[in-house]
């Protein structure tokens, strides 16, 4: 564990950020730290955390998934249409939608890993295509009624703890096992650090890439399903906000946006930071426009502090490069 922390100072930094933000928020609006409010913050953060689950894997592997918003949105819309408010239908609807998300991820991954399309282009194109398809399919009208079970998963509680918080914890465990305890995790970090070295080392690079996008597709779909429970309906555009936040949560969590480093435990802190921030800003009594400007700027600053800048700074503080000397022989 100590080793883990030593290697992941940026994750600690992100959690320190969470604490600082909580304190600052408590100053501006004392009611913020009430149990009810903390709970609703946790629920909102969980959605960001679930969406960013897959994004974490994709980014560590050196890619990026921009198709998340409409995978999420499609899953949400299709769920309400398929289930028609009936819990029983969920038995087949949920697995089908998760599989559908994975299939979209497979398409993304195959495009990137096998056909060599840059991840930004591939996933952005898929995003637009999904948007178009779902517009055609639904005729643009929102659909009513979410099954009760989904509502329970999204906003229900077990004792004082939100159900979705438990889902999130479960995901955190799964992610930690995959990243820190499995051969797949090693392959993934190798791939993101250097695809060439990974290839020369016998790492199944294409397969690993495809799996990350499949995970991302699946968690985006899962988030879509759960969001219908939170808002009670599915509507067009409900996933748009998650494009930026999913990437920002990963970056604030200390991952290099270029791949090869980071951890889901960092992303969890990133999701909390972003959500608390969203809760804090309205207390500043700004107009909606000004709010967005501040939100964007704060995220920009946070991301740059938590990822690249600090990484680079730390490197300069350390004795640089016996590496260099070794190589150039000094």
């Amino acid at each position: 564990m100590n080793r883990f922390l030593a290697r992941n100072r940026l994750i600690l930094l992100a959690y320190a950020g969470v604490v600082v933000l909580l304190l600052v928020t408590a100053l501006f609006s004392p009611g913020f730290l009430s149990p009810a409010n903390l709970r609703s913050t946790l629920v909102l953060a969980a959605f960001v955390g679930i969406v960013a689950f897959g994004q974490t894997f994709v980014i560590i592997g050196g890619g990026i998934d921009l198709s998340i918003p409409w995978v999420l949105n499609c899953a949400a819309l299709l769920l309400t249409m398929m289930a028609g408010g009936q819990d029983l239908a969920l038995i087949w609807a949920i697995p089908l939608l998760l599989a559908g998300g994975a299939a979209i991820g497979f398409l993304n991954g195959a495009g990137v890993a096998i056909f060599g399309v840059p991840p930004i282009i591939m996933t952005l194109a898929v995003n637009v295509i999904l948007q178009g398809l779902i517009l055609v399919y639904t005729g643009g009208s929102p659909t009513p009624s979410t099954p009760a079970l989904i509502k329970f998963l999204a906003v229900g509680r077990v004792g004082p703890i939100p159900v979705i918080g438990l889902v999130w914890v479960a995901l955190g465990i799964v992610a930690t096992v995959l990243l820190s305890k499995s051969a797949f995790g090693r392959h993934l970090y190798a791939l993101g650090t250097s695809a060439t070295v990974a290839e020369f080392s016998g790492v199944p690079t294409a397969r690993t890439t495809i799996i990350t996008y499949m995970i991302s597709g699946m968690t985006a779909a899962l988030a879509g399903i759960l969001l219908t429970g939170y808002s009670g309906v599915a509507y067009l555009g409900m996933g748009d906000a998650y494009l930026f936040t999913s990437v920002a949560a990963v970056a604030i969590g200390g991952a290099s946006i270029l791949g090869g480093s980071g951890h889901y435990l960092g992303t969890v802190a990133g999701a909390l930071v972003l959500t608390i921030l969203t809760g804090l800003l309205p207390a500043l009594n700004l107009s909606n426009g000004a709010l967005l400007v501040v939100y964007g700027a704060v995220i920009l600053v946070t991301v740059s502090i938590s990822s690249e800048t600090w990484g680079v700074l730390f490197q300069h503080l350390r004795p640089p490069a016996r590496e260099k000397q070794g190589e150039t022989s000094g």
Binding site: S182, S201, R322, S329, G330
Partner: protein
């Protein structure tokens, strides 16, 4: 009159002392060799001279006046140009664009004047007798050796008073290395100073007037090159007597075929190669750089597409990826050409690098058995005597020689018994070189079959049982026993047999 005079130069990086009271002085009109093991401070020293690093204390005088370089531009304006091993070239630009980068001849409109740039390039090439390189080629399509030559051209384009060559020959094949030695002499004869760094004693002998030896960040000796023996130099470099560099070669080859290759072609660089490699044999591969060695090794390893027949231990194989090649005991493993770009994940730990190719082996029901992994890592670190504080140390912070040992360890862990080595001693200090040669012979004695490409001829002569010489992508000669001499390899690499 000393052109450059350095007194009591010191430099620390945090707790690490890179230079402590180093002295150095050299005259205009000489080739001055700077020698020392990896980590002796040579690199730091020349990085300071070229303005890439600042020093903590001491004094440098250039041409009689005090010199405190703040950045590389300051060094350049004083006429100091350095050629580093880490190339500073831009892959998307052409040869001439790289050479004149930030110093392009301009037209009236402030755009680059291509005509004058071309003329200046050709004049430069002509003046220093450069090997044939087309000025309009993009760097990305060029070999490491060719890029190194461009880097040299870039330094010379600044018409320096002091030219520093940091192991510039290590990436060059024999003929080009020879040219570089002549070029060093030319610089000296024109009344300028050439500071020459190399791990190859023969080159230092051939070119240097005087030499300065660094050890542990300090100057231990300055010699007239003619007045000192190789043994003395090596002893002063490493601070002790070195066992012989090359191990005794005991015949360990059996009659069992390890690798059989018939009509192997790859790209337009490797044509129709046919040869056999036996169990317990070290088969050398020689030839001028860019004559198909890379393609040969990469094709065998599945890293480049190829046509032809290949049998491993009697079984036909056709690896289409390194993954296909790395199949445990019956597989084939490679020490790649580019340690940093192909061999190692520099920010990752020694341990993670060592086990990357075999990580699945430690998987128990989906979870990694980290204790088993750590045990194997410890064994390998001990076996190869890898100098790292802990197995968790990032591999990028190790010296070049230790990095290369990690690459070897990673390869050995795959348990493959057919090994492909691409110039495994490049950028490795002389002590580690000796260890690598011994390792190669020891492995052969244990029944490994080893294909060993080296750009340094004496290595082939002293380590290999047989040598394949490649010319224009075809096997031009197969030498064995007493036939293996530097002359024989070189002439087969250059000449047609008929001639």
């Amino acid at each position: 009159m000393e052109l450059i005079d350095v007194k009591d130069l010191s430099k620390r990086f945090g707790g690490i002392i890179a230079l402590s009271d180093a002295t150095f002085s050299a005259r205009a009109g000489e080739v001055h060799a700077l020698l020392g093991e990896n980590g002796a401070g040579k690199s730091t020293f020349i990085q300071i001279l070229s303005g890439a690093l600042r020093y903590d204390s001491g004094a440098i005088h250039v041409g009689g006046s005090e010199y405190r370089p703040q950045n590389p531009d300051a060094a350049q304006s004083l006429g100091i140009a350095a050629v580093f091993q880490e190339l500073s070239l831009i892959p998307d630009l052409t040869v001439e664009e790289n050479i004149w980068f930030r110093h392009e001849p301009l037209t009236w409109f402030g755009t680059t004047c291509r005509k004058r740039m071309r003329a200046a390039t050709l004049e430069l090439f002509d003046r220093y007798h450069f090997p044939a390189i087309r000025p309009d080629r993009e760097l990305r399509h060029m070999t490491l050796a060719e890029r190194q030559i461009v880097e040299i051209a870039k330094a010379l384009a600044k018409n320096p008073r002091i030219l520093i060559l940091d192991e510039a020959t290590s990436a060059l094949p024999a003929i080009e290395a020879d040219w570089l030695l002549k070029l060093s002499r030319q610089i000296a004869e024109e009344g300028r100073l050439s500071i020459f760094i190399s791990h190859r004693m023969g080159e230092v002998r051939a070119v240097a007037d005087r030499l300065t030896i660094f050890r542990n960040g300090s100057t231990v000796a300055v010699h007239e090159a003619k007045a000192v023996s190789d043994d003395q130099i090596v002893t002063e470099m490493i601070g002790r007597q070195l066992d012989r560099l090359y191990p005794v070669r005991t015949a360990s080859r059996t009659e069992r075929l390890a690798l059989e290759v018939r009509g192997l072609s790859s790209g337009h660089r490797l044509r129709d190669a046919t040869f056999a490699l036996y169990e317990g044999e070290v088969l050398g591969v020689g030839g001028l750089q860019g004559h198909g060695q890379r393609e040969l090794l990469q094709a065998l390893f599945g890293a480049a597409p190829s046509k032809g027949d290949m049998k491993l231990w009697g079984k036909p194989v056709s690896p289409s990826s390194p993954r296909d090649a790395l199949t445990g005991r019956d597989g084939i493993a490679l020490v790649p050409e580019d340690r940093r770009g192909q061999g190692l994940l520099l920010p990752k730990s020694v341990s993670e690098n060592l086990t990357l190719s075999v990580i699945r082996r430690f998987s128990r029901g989906g979870l990694l058995d980290k204790q088993q992994e750590a045990g194997l890592v410890r064994e390998m670190v001990d076996f190869l005597r890898i100098k790292a504080d802990t197995p968790d140390q990032p591999v990028g912070t190790l010296s070049g020689g230790n990095q290369q040992k990690v690459v070897f360890g990673k390869m050995l862990l795959t348990e493959a018994r057919v090994l492909l080595l691409y110039d495994p001693t490049r950028g490795v200090d002389v002590g580690t070189k000796g260890e690598i040669f011994r390792l190669i012979r020891d492995l052969a004695a244990k029944g490994y079959a080893i294909l060993f490409y080296s750009s340094d001829l004496p290595e082939l002569v002293h380590v290999a049982d047989r040598v394949l010489v490649l010319r224009e992508g075809a096997i031009a000669a197969t030498l064995s026993g007493d036939e293996i001499t530097e002359e024989a390899i070189l002439s087969a690499a250059v000449l047609d047999k008929a001639a």
